[in-house]
């Protein structure tokens, strides 16, 4: 079947099987910032935004996303022009191996849309589904707070 997706602002058509999962479609279409950590809906490393909401692309069929707008980490910013979240994650030391980071940044983006000035608790709950085994989460909480401040027009 054919589906239409708007990925990071570009509208694209794909021929998919009903069993094709969104994660595999995105990765094979070159969006390799979508990471596969468990492939069973637990770790959050495959998080993308579907119409602005964080979802786990490993437990979503591509066909279920037909017509949706998808944001992957590639749509957030580039090395030369990073999104404030991406810059803050690096500045605060929140990136170790980096495998969990795309998913975490996308969840953070969605959190900041509803909570532009999140408390520590709100961040913890907002990023509940994003596992990180390297960092101990402390610096990631700081990174989200600092990005939030920048995005609100603080320093």
């Amino acid at each position: 079947m054919e589906i239409k997706l708007t990925i990071n602002g570009d509208s694209k058509k794909f021929e998919v099987d009903p069993s094709t999962r969104l994660i595999d479609l995105l990765r094979s279409a070159g969006y390799q910032g979508v990471k596969k950590g468990c492939d069973e809906g637990h770790c959050g490393s495959c998080t993308v935004l579907l119409d602005g909401q964080p979802i786990l692309s490993c437990i979503k069929f591509a066909a279920q996303a037909d017509g949706a707008e998808i944001t992957t980490i590639e749509g957030m910013g580039t090395v030369n022009d990073p999104h404030p979240l991406q810059q803050s994650f690096v500045d605060k030391g929140a990136v170790q191996c980096g495998f969990c980071i795309p998913g975490m940044i996308l969840s953070s983006k969605s959190l900041l849309e509803t909570h532009p000035d999140p408390t520590e608790d709100e961040i913890k709950r907002g990023l509940d589904g994003n596992y990180c085994r390297c960092t101990g989460y402390v610096k990631q909480i700081e990174a989200v707070q600092s990005a939030a401040q920048k995005m609100r027009g603080g320093i």
């Binding site: 390799q32 069973e40 770790c43 980096g98 390297c134 960092t135």
Partner: protein, 780 residues
């Protein structure tokens, strides 16, 4: 003092931008899974449903006949080469008890056959079509009974062996053993005013790197085998794959791109052999990504230990004698068996060098359970649980502040311990004197940050069924394996005065590419962004044993520093020639060489001169380092808990880790190591647990039911870096990556005891366990 020595550093001690940070945050830097090749096949491993069985026959005809299946490999297709999967230096102190594919399976999840197909789905489907006939054997599931007379023999094949003289008796399931002692134990116990004796059990756990093991291999146009893999030990992978596939090393190239964490699980050659064998068999690129379930069941784990500890002390708290008896379960294979149990002694016992007599007895047994391996902390994590709990018991019974008890007994600057020389890794250890112990400051600053002295006032904050408690522990680890580990680096200069830094050292996500670049930058007097690091490619970079044993900053950092020092000399020489002065007259400025009268030439001019103009040559060098000691980092941990006596739930309120890692080359990354290790330890202490069926099958091999810490689980956590200066390390650095994981199990255990007077002697501290103990005390 350490502040004076580090005050003038321009690059070291600064949290510069992590070199791969933005590329990772933008999803652009590549991990193994992100490399796809034309015509690639997907590999699937068929695994054993039995804990212990002989394979009588394998019929793969139906699978092989399937459209889209390229090949099936079984033990009949491969040469029989006993080896160890442990990625250690050669000759490995681990038994050669593994085969790429064998005619026997020794745990649920062991390899039976490998299938390569056009899609992962097809490979999975084909695996189900392989018919295997097993002779099911009685499994050994209780480590305490593993060496009993008449116990089933797990390694009854006639070709398992050790290649250096170390204890190994597979005929009675003994994978390894170590023993050492000094002083008169009986006499010291007899003189002791107090003796505590207890048995502790430390449990199975998995590393859970968020990126699973993944590998892609292909045969290049000249017939060489290229292996791109998620590993901590690229050079050991090359050597061990060469051994297993009976190829010379020159036929193999191993490349490590970005990797998604390892924590020791990737210090094991677990996937590369079978993927390369399949690439050779099919002539096509082959990719293998382990599933999360396979990570739990068939990767490596923390070796469980049963630890009997006896400590005798004087009434003032001075320790007289320690007796440690460790029974360790290595599961079905013995990789790291000896070295992990050695570290249970060597990384723990020297900390309390007031002991006049020490005995250490380690015994490692095979069972038909998941396989133990290297895991951050490496044996120390397990044994610290027993020793630090026993010390807490002594402090309690003698009514001494547990902080004071540590202060009285811990090793100090200028002191040594006979343990250093006695216990090495597969051989004797190396004597060393401690010269950079920051433990007193760790205790002081930790107490302050935690509010140790005001803890009694906080007790009343808990009410009703809740009780508050406070616990501490102190720790040490090491920095590299002395007289064994080797690291090398090479550096060359470019036209613009930048430098390529090539090193074998393996960045597994820790940031070592950045840290090692900072060291080179400091020596060469350039900003870190003028260093272009490239690491871990066996064709291009010099050798390094890899990322393990807390060695990268200390050992690889020294190689980089030495190498940069040589390059610096060459730069000075060219600079002097250009300025027409003697070599003694010049020194390095920021990206330039200056002479005593203030004339200068820039690095750019020097590089251009040497590459294009006169006396042409490439300014470049390489150098290696080995270490003659393993200076320990030290750490003090503080835990505050609230125990609900009705539910048995332990709530962690506050946790403080104060760590002396010498100079923190990159403070933010060093803090990240402390925080990451601590949180992994918290999760180990409170939530992580393997559940087994009565036939040895893991029942919770999923993130759904094996609970690792998530963000909301976090307590208030503070990690404090306490600077000291280790003269033998690069710019005063020691290690930092492992030590933090050792603290939570004992510190939280001690806090629980302080809260409710119950010592839980077996991790993890789950509500049902506490409740059972609480009920027992009530019943009494």
């Amino acid at each position: 003092m350490s502040e004076q020595k580090t005050a003038n550093f321009a690059q070291v001690g600064k949290s510069v931008q992590k070199i791969d940070g933005l590329a990772l945050a933008c999803g652009k830097d590549k991990f193994v899974e992100d490399y796809d090749m034309q015509n690639q096949l997907y590999l699937k491993v068929l695994r054993s449903p039995h804990a212990h069985a002989r394979i009588l026959s394998i019929d793969s005809s139906e699978a092989e006949a399937m459209e889209g299946v390229a090949a099936v490999l079984t033990h009949a297709d491969l040469p029989r080469v006993p080896h160890t999967t442990a990625g250690q230096g050669y000759p490995e102190p681990s038994p050669y008890d593994s085969h790429t594919l064998d005619n026997k399976v020794r745990y649920v999840g062991d390899r039976v056959a490998a299938i390569a197909a056009e899609t992962p789905e097809l490979a999975r489907e084909a695996a189900q079509k392989i018919k295997v006939e097993y002779e099911v054997l009685e499994p050994v599931l209780d480590p305490r009974k593993a060496t009993d007379e008449g116990a089933p023999v797990i390694h009854d094949e006639d070709d398992c062996k050790v290649i250096i003289p170390i204890p190994y008796e597979p005929e009675r399931n003994l994978a390894s053993a170590v023993e050492f002692s000094f002083g008169d134990l009986e006499e010291e116990f007899a003189k002791s005013d107090i003796i505590v004796e207890d048995e502790y059990e430390s449990h199975y756990a998995q590393h859970c790197p968020v990126e699973p093991h993944v590998c892609i291999s292909y045969i290049d146009s000249r017939g060489r085998v290229v292996i791109r893999t998620s590993t901590q030990v690229p050079f050991h992978v090359r050597r061990i794959v060469a051994q297993r596939l009976e190829l010379p090393e020159k036929k193999i190239r191993v490349i490590k791109p970005r990797i998604g964490g390892g924590f020791g699980a990737k210090q094991e050659v677990l996937v590369e052999d079978i993927v390369a064998a399949m690439a050779m068999k099919t002539g096509r690129p082959v990719k293998f990504l382990m599933t999360r379930e396979e990570e739990f069941v068939s990767s490596r784990t923390r070796h469980p230990q049963i630890i009997n500890v006896t400590i005798g002390a004087d009434s003032d708290g001075t320790i007289r004698a320690i007796n440690l008896d460790v029974l360790m379960n290595t599961g079905a294979y013995g990789g790291h068996a000896l070295t992990v149990v050695c570290n249970s002694g060597s990384k723990v016992l020297p900390l309390y060098n007031t002991a006049k007599a020490v005995k250490f007895n380690g015994k490692v047994v095979y069972t038909n359970l998941p396989v133990g391996g290297a895991y951050r902390g490496y044996g120390a994590t397990q044994t610290y649980f027993a020793v630090e709990s026993a010390l807490d018991e002594i402090a309690h019974r003698l009514d001494i502040d547990p902080v004071k008890l540590r202060e009285i007994n811990h090793i100090k600057n200028g002191e040594t311990s006979p343990v250093f020389a006695a216990l090495g890794e597969g051989k004797e250890g190396v004597e060393q004197t401690i010269e950079s112990c920051g433990l007193p400051q760790c205790l002081e600053q930790g107490k302050e940050a935690f509010g140790w002295d005001t803890r009694e006032e906080r007790r009343s904050l808990s009410s009703g069924s809740k009780r508050r408690g406070f616990g501490i522990c102190t720790l040490m680890q090491g920095s590299s394996i002395p007289e064994i580990d080797m690291a090398a680096a090479s550096i060359k200069m470019n036209e613009d005065g930048s430098f390529n830094l090539l090193m074998g050292a393996t960045d597994l996500g820790t940031g070592s590419d950045t840290v090692l670049s900072q060291i080179a930058a400091e020596t060469l007097n350039v900003p870190t962004e003028d260093i272009i690091p490239y690491s871990s490619d066996t064709d291009l970079t010099p050798f390094d044993v890899g990322a393990y044993a807390s060695s990268t900053t200390y050992l690889s950092g020294k190689a980089v520093d030495k190498c940069a020092g040589k390059v610096k000399q060459q730069i000075l020489k060219v600079g002097a020639e250009m300025l027409e002065v003697e070599l003694e007259d010049v020194s390095l400025g920021a990206k330039k060489v200056v002479d005593s009268s203030g004339n200068e030439v820039s690095y750019e001019e020097i590089a251009t001169y040497s590459l294009y103009e006169s006396n042409q040559h490439q300014i470049a060098a390489h150098d290696s380092s080995i270490s003659h000691k393993s200076p320990p980092p030290f750490s003090a941990h503080f835990a505050e808990v609230e125990v609900d006596t009705e539910t048995g739930k332990v709530e962690l309120i506050q946790y403080v880790n104060a760590t002396d890692c010498g100079t923190a080359i990159h403070p933010r990354l060093a803090e990240g190591q402390c925080e990451g290790a601590t949180v992994n330890g918290l999760s180990f202490a409170l939530t992580e647990e393997y559940q087994f069926s009565s036939r040895g099958k893991m029942l919770n091999a999923s993130f759904d039911s094996y609970n690792i810490y998530k963000m909301p689980d976090m307590p208030e956590l503070k990690c404090i870096l306490v600077p000291t200066y280790e003269e033998t390390g690069p710019y005063g650095a020691k290690s930092v990556s492992e030590i933090g994981i050792n603290g939570p199990l004992p510190a939280i255990g001690n806090a629980i005891f302080d809260a409710v007077g119950i010592r839980i002697k077996e991790g993890p501290f789950k509500p049902d366990k506490l409740l059972a103990e609480l009920e027992k005390t009530e019943a009494r």
